[in-house]
């Protein structure tokens, strides 16, 4: 079964995305910040990352930068999720190695489409 990691400091946001993903029959790994996510990325085989931008301890940009340094994470799909997406935010997201950019909240049907496209079930 495929696993998705939801990285967000807000429990509400994590439960929101998590509950949708679980309803698709996916494994969900939650992380409160980049640091926790990075630790969990070492243990679990993750097929898709949903990453918030602003988080305490380690923010989304730093997390992705670190993640991409791992040999087995060079191409794993990463979607950055933010409240409002400015062009320069997108630019920095692509620069650090995010694949896609989406505005919060991702509607269930959108999330479904992303999973269909990006994750091998």
């Amino acid at each position: 079964m495929a696993s998705i990691m939801v990285v967000d400091d807000s429990k509400t946001v994590r439960s929101y995305h998590g509950s949708i993903l679980k309803s698709f029959g996916l494994d969900v790994v939650e992380a409160e910040n980049g640091m926790e996510a990075l630790e969990k990325s070492l243990d679990a085989e993750i097929d898709l990352y949903l990453v918030d931008v602003n988080m305490p301890v380690m923010d989304g940009y730093s997390f992705i930068t670190q993640l991409r340094k791992q040999a087995n994470h060079k191409t794993v799909p990463v979607i950055m999720i933010t409240t409002q997406a400015k062009e320069e935010d997108k630019a920095s997201a692509y620069k650090v190695g995010a694949n896609l950019f989406e505005t919060k909240p991702i509607r269930p049907e959108q999330l479904k489409a992303y999973i269909d496209i990006l994750v091998e079930m």
Binding site: S10, T12, S15, S23, I117
Partner: protein, 904 residues
Amino acid sequence: MDPLLEQFLGEARENLSFIDQNIEGIGGDDPELLNSVFRAAHTLKGGSGIVGFESVKIITHHAEDLLDMLRAGKLDFAESMTEVLYDAFDEVLNLIDAAEESGGIVDADEERVSSIVEALSQQMGKELEGEKAWALPFTLLDDSSQIINFPLDGLNGINSQKVAFLNKPIDESFVKEQNFYAVTFDIDESCMVYGNDPIYALSLLGENVIAISSCITDDNSKAILSGTEDEDGLLLKTQLNAFVYGTYEEIEEALFNFSDEIELLPLDIDTLLKVNYGDSGHAIDSLKELCDIADDFDLKTIASEVRNSLELVGSDTIQYAQLKRFLDIGGLIKEEDTSKLKTFFKSLFKGEVYAGMQDNLPSDEAPAPSQNQSESPEMDETTQEILQNMFQQQYKAIDFIENDEDLARVVSILDKMKKFMPEIPDTFSSKAEVSSFIANELGLESSVEEVSVEQVSEPIAQVKQENISSQEVAIEQNTVELIEEEKPSIKKVVPKKEDKKSIVGKTVKIDQESIDSLMNVVGELLVAKNSLPYLADNVIGMTHDVIKREIMDKYIFINRLSEKLQDLIMGMRMLPISYVFDRYPKLVRDISKKLGKKVKLDMSGGETKLDKNMIEMLADPMIHIMRNSLDHGIEMPDVREKKGKDSSGTVTLSAFAQSDKIVIQIIDDGAGINVQRVADKVLEKGLMTSEEIDKLSEDEMAELVLMPGLSTAEEITEFSGRGVGMDVVKKSIEGFGGTIGIKTTANVGTTITLSIPVSLAVTSLLHILMDNIHYGIPMESVSETVKIDKSEIEYLHNEPFIYIRGEVIPLLFIDSMLDKSDMEEKPLSIVVLNIKGNMLAVVVNEFLGQLDVVQKPLVGIMEAHPLFSGTALLGNGQIIMSIDPHGLLGISASLKLKEQEEVA
């Protein structure tokens, strides 16, 4: 320096000098004086808080408290208070000085600060923390209906009785712990004018503020929250309610500027959160719900979850009504949103958000992994949208591809998209290929595409080029970084160069009137300028005489205007000398305290105006002189009493204008300079011979202390007496065209007189001609010019002199500089000089009138020239040498000596 800090430092200085001058009188009968000192302290406290100057804030806060208690009559004035307040504000001044020097806020010596605070507290009768019975540090809201009526008034199902206000006694530990408070502000409508922004102050508490509302309208409170409130709105007198979660200390810290205006009401969170299900007729209670989601009962966490939820849903589509209760506290939600919120939270909590919609989805089955690539699965609209969106995003991401890894990442996404879009090729070899493919798919006709068409025919060359270009990009970026790195380092150096201690801020306040008159003069100048082309047009056909007259006319007009302009601008540069004087009360107190002497400082003439630059330059020499007076002049109290003087000495500082000079006198009633000892020292050091000393008058003897390398103090103290004292002072005073004089009487005191030009910028010279060379003599030394027939010259002991109104004035011929042939058959042109009371008549070839010039000092090998003090430019570009009158005296003296030798 941070401009805000700079402004604060400037203001603080003003306030401190005001306090300093008036603190002595706070015990007097004038309540207004005490009030104004209090206000100055209050302003200081407010400003220091805004710029974050913690130590200053702490000190001024306590000083203000003391002043406030005096003001309110809660305390009786005691002499010792003045001492303590002086100490407190002196320390603030020290901190301000240090901040100015370092260009930023400095850390204070904590021990010093706490000892000052302790002293202030003792004056207030307060014991230090912990030693006294604990008292509630804040004002309790006596009318809790204020909170109940607003904004909880409109709560659905929860009336005021159910919102639990704290009933248990408030003790010390309650105040120290984080608690939930309702804070009400009765904001003075003028607070914004004084820069006290309550919303900003609240924002310092960050996430601890759970809601803010104003009493005006709900809309208004929303506007305040979103920061769109206009200025007029905030000028309204209003009441603000805020719900803050924190310790009292944190709240007080952020809102210290409003400490008089706020009232607190502790709320009981536990009860607030434990409202029973069904009590209000609601199936689910939002706060309860939120608590479960947030896994704890920490209101702060809940508040941040509420924010996140708002973020999640978007403020325009508020669809979850179970937040209503919570949001109602802030008056933020409308009645009709309740049901929507309710559904949302109910379903969210049960993880059913998506479950409900799944039936509606066209295909519940996820695409099978075994799906054939050629066969694309059915696509709903959303998937199509997402695919399109992904394409667009990848197209943008291409711009950020710098290496193979980046490329692989983009390609991997395209790979994944392939199962829905079979047209995507299996492999991509380069960035350009990806770019052209996506552009094509998106229907973009880009230049990239054209390039790629060429490149497809030459794939190998293209790949190479790609590598090169990416390298180039990298290089470019490196250089950009380098440049950026250099910038800050340059910036760092520049302020260091300008780091010269400046007493006066770099800004000058100018009154409206000056600007207006400046404007008028500039207007006239424009008119005058316009008349010149007119004259040029009409010059043909005019005789030379007419042209000359016309030009002279214009010259006179323009000259008058430029003089006016100069006066006006110089006037703007003028500042009261109090800028320098204001620093001395503290200096005197500091030094006399350390020396154990009692000294009173009298100042007068602080309003005398002086050029800004001059004020800067005066500061250091003046300090030196003051230190000398305190250290060597004023005696110890017991010595003074033995001499029959008042035990506390007096130093008088006075400034006044005298023609185009400003005279500053520093008078002490101390021991006076021991002239004999100075003379002995001079002899001992071999600076002069005893014959030379014998010739000196009493005053001249005193001025021997100005000679380099002399110190008469037996002991070297911290403040003065390193032997590099007065000569340096003399040099710097003379450096900007001033003079220094000393008069001293044993056991009566010493008077030091500084006489300095009002402005540095422009000097008036008497323009003279000697042997066809132009010279200038400073007008301040010129007493008059006369023409005298040679026959009127008299001789005494072979020395020439002239009589002017009965006064005998020695006459100086400088043979080597004069054109003697020109002087035959003509009366002699003589300039009569008054050099520090010494009269001297100097023969010149011709006087040409008065000149106003910008004088430049001599530099290099000419620097210490005995006769010339500077140069200036004439209107025609010719250089004019400015003669130092003292130099002329020197020549006169050496000529005498020579003659005497010849006679001998």
